[in-house]
C-alpha cells in the first residue's frame, strides 16, 4: 500500500478552494483508485494523506487534467508552499 502525504502552508483559501478540494477528493476516490483520504487544517497549516494500491495509480492521478489545473491554482493562489511525499506503508496497527 502506498500513500501521498501533502503538507502545505496556506496562503488564502476561498470558495473555489472548497469546491475544488471536494471535487479532487471525489475524482481520486471514484476514478483513480484512491481508497482512503484524510485531511486536517489548523491555522495556516494543512496536512492531507491519500492511500493508493500502487505507484502507477499515483502517477495517473498526478496527470489528471482537472488535477493539473487544481495544482496550478494551489501554487498560484491557495498555498505559500507545499511538500508532496510518496511513501510505502510498511506496517500499521490500530487501537
Amino acid at each position: 500500500m502506498y500513500a501521498v502525504i501533502f503538507k502545505a502552508e496556506i496562503a488564502k483559501l476561498d470558495d473555489e478552494y472548497s469546491a475544488t478540494a471536494a471535487r479532487m477528493q471525489e475524482l481520486a476516490l471514484n476514478q483513480y483508485g484512491c481508497f482512503e483520504f484524510s485531511a486536517c487544517c489548523e491555522g495556516n497549516q494543512e496536512i492531507a494523506i491519500s492511500y493508493w494500491p500502487s505507484q502507477d495509480h499515483i502517477k495517473r492521478w498526478r496527470q489528471d487534467p482537472e488535477h493539473l489545473l487544481a495544482q496550478k491554482s494551489g501554487q498560484g493562489k491557495w498555498y505559500h508552499s507545499y511538500t508532496v511525499q510518496v511513501v510505502e506503508v510498511l506496517r500499521e496497527y490500530s487501537h
Copy 2:
C-alpha cells in the same frame, strides 16, 4: 527516510494532554533522532507525522518509558481510536 503517521479520533483533550504532547515532541526530537514533526488538529481528528532516519530509531522511540505511559493515557483518556503507520519515504517534491 522513514515516517510515522499517527491518525486519531479525539475523545477529550485536557491540560495534561498538551503538556504530554509537548514533552513527547521534545523527547523524540532531542533524544531519539526524530528530525521533523508535523501535527494538525481539526474537530475531533488529529494527524501527526514524525520523520526518522531508520526503523531502529522508531522502535527505540516506541519503547521509551515516558512514551509508553503517554500511549496508555492516549488509549485510556484522550483518543477514541487511533492508527499508527510506519512508512518509507520513496520520493518527495516541494513547491
